[in-house]
């Protein structure tokens, strides 16, 4: 009897997850129908209008989708030269040594810093540096946001990649050494081919994190609603436009913001599921 109750409790608590997951999709879809009915789905996605004047309201998601994809892509490019060395450092060169544990702790702490504090640091320190270096006129913009985003995703990409680099069987590496390969050659011809799919999935998951990052980006991107034409201009991402405007929105604007939320949710969901499937596959090998 008690066993039955226990099993029912287990199942019930497991049902909470699909309830929340399904509920998110359902609520976002229902509350965004207003915008999609008004503008049409593809029209909304590919329009760069953002007119808030009452009566002439017109909303489109394109500048924000562009902003999100652009910052994420840039962040990914900028994060690779740091996350890959860290992964090699902790997973190959100094594997198991104290210094590797130390670097692991450093990156873990880096991952623990709240988004809003990254934003503050970027706003008060980095922005000045960027202005000094003449990267952008106000210091804030796509490039600044992407740079901070890159720092934020380094820990995720690095720790996951290191996990797969560690999994490369040492007899394979020893075989290559026995054939006279140097360490760099072993890394390039044994470690990377063996751990490649895992490292790839690590970066997919890092992309997933960067797509939805809100506070730091909101504080640094400059918050303008037009299409970004160069990397130095200001812009908005899907997350930052919601963070900025959701509070005072109602009616059609609220529905449009929720529609942007739905799109963001779908994009991150697809990226994350792909990443997780790849990672499960890579772990099994």
């Amino acid at each position: 009897m008690q066993d039955k109750i226990f099993r029912v409790l287990l199942i019930l608590s497991a049902v909470v997850v699909p309830l929340i997951g399904g509920g998110i999709i359902y609520s976002l879809t229902v509350d965004s129908t207003g915008a999609f009915e008004q503008f049409g789905f593809w029209n909304f996605v590919f329009s760069d209008d953002w007119v808030t004047t009452a009566g002439k309201e017109k909303y489109g998601a394109l500048p924000f989708i562009t902003g999100t994809l652009l910052t994420t892509f840039l962040a990914l490019i900028m994060c690779i030269p740091f996350s890959l060395p860290v992964a090699l450092f902790t997973g190959e060169y100094f594997r198991g040594k104290k210094i590797a544990t130390f670097l692991g702790t450093v990156t873990d702490l880096l991952a623990g810093i709240p988004s809003i504090i990254y934003g503050l640091w970027g706003f008060y320190i980095l922005r000045g540096v960027f202005m000094e270096l003449n990267f952008s006129p106000q210091g804030s913009g796509i490039l600044t946001a992407a740079f901070v985003l890159a720092i934020m995703i380094v820990p995720y990409a690095a720790s996951l990649s290191a996990e797969f680099i560690k999994m490369v069987p040492s007899d394979l590496k020893e075989g290559a050494y026995a054939m006279g390969a140097t360490r760099a050659e072993v890394i390039r011809r044994v470690v990377f081919p063996m751990a490649g799919s895992g490292i790839f999935s690590a970066y997919i998951l890092a992309i997933g994190r960067a797509l939805g990052e809100t506070m730091a980006v909101t504080m640094l991107i400059g918050n303008t609603n037009q299409m970004p034409d160069t990397l130095r201009t200001t812009g908005n991402t899907m997350a930052s436009i919601i963070a900025n405007q959701f509070g005072e929105a109602d009616g059609l604007k609220l529905s449009s913001l929720i529609a942007i939320g739905l799109l963001l949710f779908l994009i991150t969901a697809v990226i994350n599921i792909i990443g997780k499937i790849l990672i499960r596959r890579a772990r099994r090998v």
Binding site: F6, P18, L28, Y93, L110, G112, I113, S115, Y124
Partner: protein
Amino acid sequence: MIQVNNIRLRIFRSRLLYVTVCVFSGLTAIPLLAILGEVLIKGWKQLGWAFFTEATPNAYKAMMAASAGEPIPGGIANGIIGTFLMLIIAAVVAIPVGIFCGICLSEYRKSWFATFVSYLTDLLQGTPSIIIGIITYIWVVVPMKGYSALAGSVALFIMMLPLIIRSTEETMKVLPETLKEAGLALGGSYWRVMLQVMLPSALGSIFTGILLAISRVVGETAPLMFTALGGAAISWNVTKPMSAVPLLIWEFFNDPNLQSLIWGASLFLLTFVLLLNLLAKRIAKKWKI
């Protein structure tokens, strides 16, 4: 093909890679030091007894103090109370549900249902925090006809749940099957074996997971902006809007009059989060299965 003849070049390349890896790995530590240093240097001056016991001043008071050349009065007590209240409510619900769900996923790991829930957990974990904010707004704030700390707790609960599920599931999966079999063979009923044999032996890593989950959500701002909203007074009423430390930082960031409080609040938040992280690491090391 590997060029065999040019051995010097190959060794040079190998060393070059080694040096590059070391240099770039070292560079990664710079942001951490820069952020810690910045927050510490600017923040510690603001810390004092009043900073932790008094509520946030309004913009007018702050302006008057600033124009008189005095330090801004008040502190972040309203945020600290709000953060802890919301965290406790969220944790009290998320911990049992998460642990039970994790046990379920590990026990029925071969069923399609568990695989499905497991993928959904990953999905939920990857959901941007701002989406959690929107969804809690739709689910709690709209029906309750107002912002409340309770809504903030719901948002934090949704964020914590997948983290706790994951850590429980992963720990339970690596426990030896023989442990359960031994318990059952001694005549223990299934629920007794699960809760009094399996769970206690997994408790160390689950506790680590809980600490990490708390440290992840304590600094979250986005899900609280449209749920708990914030408030300047110290409040214990969870059905009313309430502030939290990250929300206060956001408020200070947007209000030029209050800007000098920003670093003290950040120092408090950062110290709390990093200490939780380090504590979790220590416990994980000590209670390794």
